[in-house]
């Protein structure tokens, strides 16, 4: 990673002069291409996203402002016309609201769904995902727990054994390390060790990932620790559309599902459909079809990848970007089809290099699609260090768009 490290420093220095003062990360300017349209198999809409994940503007409202960061995070339908926002179907909301909507709809639909976590009730949730739910559904369905992750996760699992469908929130996914025994041994394994007698339809969710200088203990990426647990499913949401869809699918699933959210993505805005929909838990999302290279990513790194994609497009590359979404199990069908098309793979992830999702994905692709690869799989992950507090150091811990660009260039030589 030494070469790219220098690259990052250089890029950061170059960009710092053009960054907007409010952004400690160093804004990355993007060029939007509203005329570009792609055919996708799923319903999609415009999303406008800053790379640092702060509040956004809809592409169609009042046009672009100067210095604005715009990226098409979700590819648009070929036939959708860029009409004004008021006549578009669906409704606009932020990602945390989408999560809440999904949760609320499922709680209305099924009286067995309940939520438990710290400060999710009266306080409304530290990220407002459960705001208003306690007033609507009462204290027995929206439960404020004491700070006792090990036991309330265990209680959620026990309740799930009887047929209730609890949604357990970890205020920060890192705190759920205290409940690792319950998640691993009870949640994951009880269906198997009881010979199929019990199902555990629990959803364990919460924000994780590297945030804004939150410090090492609050910047945990649990997906690498949890991925080995047999019996659980793991998904990572990245847009309001898939956040709501995955939340609903997770609640409806008979299996224990861990829904990984990201601290910096809660304020993403998107227009989502009014009608009831779910996102398949095991499916990956085609973000941008392409020909030259398959870039596999998830959660926040999707936006770094899309930002890098703009630069790559300008340089003449045609990357195919897939948000893998399902971290366990991998959607090897979508991924495989992409590998067969492009023959080059770059994985961009936020968890640490050692034992991360990228490591497992590399192994899975190599095992299954080795014959289709023209080059070794490249994997960009966060450094194997505790996340430092200082802004610049934190920036260098995670993968930045410039590194992604360099990596694709290397891969496509």
């Amino acid at each position: 990673m030494a070469a790219t490290f220098h690259g990052v420093r250089a890029t950061v220095a170059a960009l710092s002069s053009s960054s907007s003062p409010s952004n400690s990360f160093g804004c990355k300017r993007l060029i939007s291409s509203p005329s570009r349209s792609f055919s996708v198999r799923k319903r999609a809409s415009f999303t406008v996203v800053r790379s640092d994940g702060s509040v956004n503007f809809d592409l169609n409202s009042k046009g672009r402002r100067a210095q604005q960061l715009i990226a098409n995070a979700v590819a648009t339908k070929a036939d959708s016309s860029p009409a004004s926002s008021s006549s578009k179907p669906g409704h606009e909301l932020l990602l945390f609201e989408a999560l809440r909507e999904g949760l609320e709809e499922e709680m209305e639909r099924d009286p067995r769904v309940c939520v438990m976590g710290e400060d999710i009730g009266h306080y409304g949730g530290s990220y407002k995902v459960t705001k208003g739910l306690a007033t609507k559904f009462g204290d027995l369905r929206v439960l404020d727990t004491p700070i006792a992750e090990n036991s309330f996760t265990g209680m959620g699992i026990g309740a799930a054994m009887t047929g209730l469908r609890p949604v357990v929130e970890g205020m920060n996914m890192g705190f759920l390390l205290l409940a690792f025994n319950q998640i691993s041994n009870n949640c994951g394994m009880l269906h198997y060790t009881s010979g199929g007698q019990f199902t555990i339809p629990i959803v364990i969710r919460g924000p994780g990932g590297v945030g804004r200088q939150l410090g090492a203990e609050h910047s945990q990426r649990l997906e690498s620790y949890l991925q080995s647990i047999p019996g659980i499913q793991m998904v990572a949401c990245s847009t309001p559309y898939n956040a709501k869809g995955l939340m609903k699918a997770a609640i409806r699933s008979e299996n224990p599902v861990i829904l990984l959210e990201h601290v910096l993505l809660y304020n993403l805005k998107e227009r989502i459909p009014d009608e009831d929909y779910i996102c398949n838990l095991e499916e990956a999302e085609m973000v941008r079809p392409g020909e030259h290279v398959t870039i596999l990513t998830y959660s926040r790194m999707r936006y770094h990848v899309m930002q890098a994609a703009k630069t790559l497009v300008n340089k003449g590359y045609d990357p195919e970007v897939i948000d893998i979404r399902s971290l366990k199990p991998f959607d090897l069908y979508t991924i495989g089809n992409s590998v067969k098309k492009t023959h080059r793979v770059l994985i961009v992830e936020e968890c640490m290099r050692t034992g991360g999702i990228g490591a497992s994905l590399t192994a899975a692709i190599t095992e299954n699609f080795n014959d289709y690869l023209d080059a070794p799989i490249m994997c960009l992950s966060s450094q194997d260090v505790p996340t430092p507090y200082a802004g610049t150091l934190e920036e260098w811990t995670i993968v930045q768009p410039a590194q992604i660009v360099t990596a694709v260039e290397q891969l496509c030589q």
Binding site: H191, Q197, R252
Partner: protein
């Protein structure tokens, strides 16, 4: 078990005075009427209850001949089953960990007598007898212990993972203390669904020092859950005596704000009384702790001789003074509910039952290789994994 009362000759005539109270038909029937007799008998528990932050239940326990004979039969069955498991383990038919419950039978049997199948029980790894008390069959036990298809968990759980969903027996857990939060979750579900039932979450004196217990108790007390935490105190956490592991070995008091009751766990009637009391309490007032003062004859598991940290005199002493099966036998004989020969016949019958179950289990096939991948996920929105 068709025995003519007139034909038996083991008792002296003085104890036959009870005959006069028996219905006339007994004189001519071949079936002994005693085994279904439900005339109440009052028995005093061996020791009074001690309580913490609550009243004690009465020392006088209502029982009847039928119940006492059921106690005897069930406990003798459990005893025989565990001893048979010991032999099977030494014959290497049972592998891995095997934690035997002999000595502690009264807790399982007494608890079952106080509750219904709507109430939930969850325990740790010493679960064979609790499983049987909840209605599990001997075949399911031995087949599971030997890893066969007919096992209660299809051979995939093993000794520490017995479950019986239809009688609300939630296992069967290997990690010390982890079952207590699960148990409080069961109690939460019961409250949520307005079941009017309670959950008994069992743990040992070793697990009593787990933080998650206190966390779960706190939440249960805050939310008024019908959870009953039962500490089966057999005085040793594997090789560590309770006084070396717990600063305060008064486990019934450890709940602090939660009331507690100390019970002689070797007296099935005392256990029954305490559980009845606890159920009533938990439904009205939230969690309560029961400490069952009990003892295990075997070591912690089959790999532990059980004699390096306690003397053989102690073990034989408890067996002589406090054995739960003997206590019920004496009770039955002193109340003239059955003759010694009849009880011995019951035991012979049980022996045969156990041997038959073992033979049947030995015949039972091992799981198919495809079973490796079943039940990892539930079908539906999840996937069944295949080898890749």
């Amino acid at each position: 078990m068709a025995l003519s009362r007139l034909a038996s000759s083991s008792s002296s005539s003085s104890s036959r005075s009870a005959d006069l109270l028996k219905p006339l038909c007994s004189a001519i029937s071949l079936r002994r009427p005693i085994s279904t007799d439900t005339t109440p008998i009052t028995v005093e528990t061996s020791v009074p209850f001690t309580s913490h932050q609550c009243d004690t239940p009465s020392r006088s326990v209502q029982t009847n001949a039928k119940e006492l004979l059921t106690f005897f039969r069930d406990m003798a069955l459990m005893r025989r089953m565990e001893i048979a498991a010991d032999s099977l383990y030494k014959a290497k038919l049972i592998r891995g960990f095997c934690h035997l419950y002999d000595g502690q039978e009264a807790v399982a049997v007494g608890m079952e007598a106080a509750i219904t199948k709507k109430d939930c029980i969850i325990t740790a790894y010493r679960d064979h007898c609790t499983f049987v008390a909840r209605g599990g069959t001997l075949l399911e036990v031995f087949a599971e212990l030997m890893g066969r298809q007919a096992g209660c968990s299809r051979g995939k759980g093993g000794s520490m993972h017995f479950y019986k969903k239809d009688s609300n027996f939630y296992g069967g857990h290997g990690i010390v203390g982890a079952q207590v939060p699960l148990g409080c979750g069961l109690a939460f579900a019961q409250k949520y669904s307005k079941d009017e039932a309670v959950t008994f979450a069992l743990y040992g004196d070793g697990a009593a020092n787990q933080g998650q217990l206190f966390e779960a108790l706190n939440i249960s007390a805050l939310w008024d859950l019908p959870a009953i935490l039962v500490c089966e105190n057999n005085h040793y956490g594997m090789g560590t005596a309770e006084w070396r592991a717990s600063k305060s070995p008064a486990y019934y008091k450890r709940g602090d704000y939660a009331p507690g009751l100390k019970v002689d766990g070797m007296d099935a009637l005392a256990v029954k009384q305490a559980c009845t009391f606890a159920k009533e309490h938990a439904l009205k007032n939230g969690p309560i702790i029961l400490e069952m003062d009990t003892y295990r004859y075997h070591g912690h598991s089959m790999s532990d001789p059980g004699s390096t940290y306690r003397t053989r005199d102690e073990i034989t002493g408890v067996r002589q003074e406090r054995d739960p099966v003997e206590r019920i036998r004496k009770l039955i004989l002193s109340h003239d509910l059955a003759t010694e020969k009849e009880l011995k016949d019951i035991e012979k019958e049980i022996r045969k039952e156990v041997d038959d179950a073992i033979a049947q289990a030995k015949e039972n096939p091992l799981p198919e290789s495809s079973e490796l991948f079943t039940n990892v996920y539930a079908k539906g929105l999840g996937v069944e994994m295949s080898f890749h």
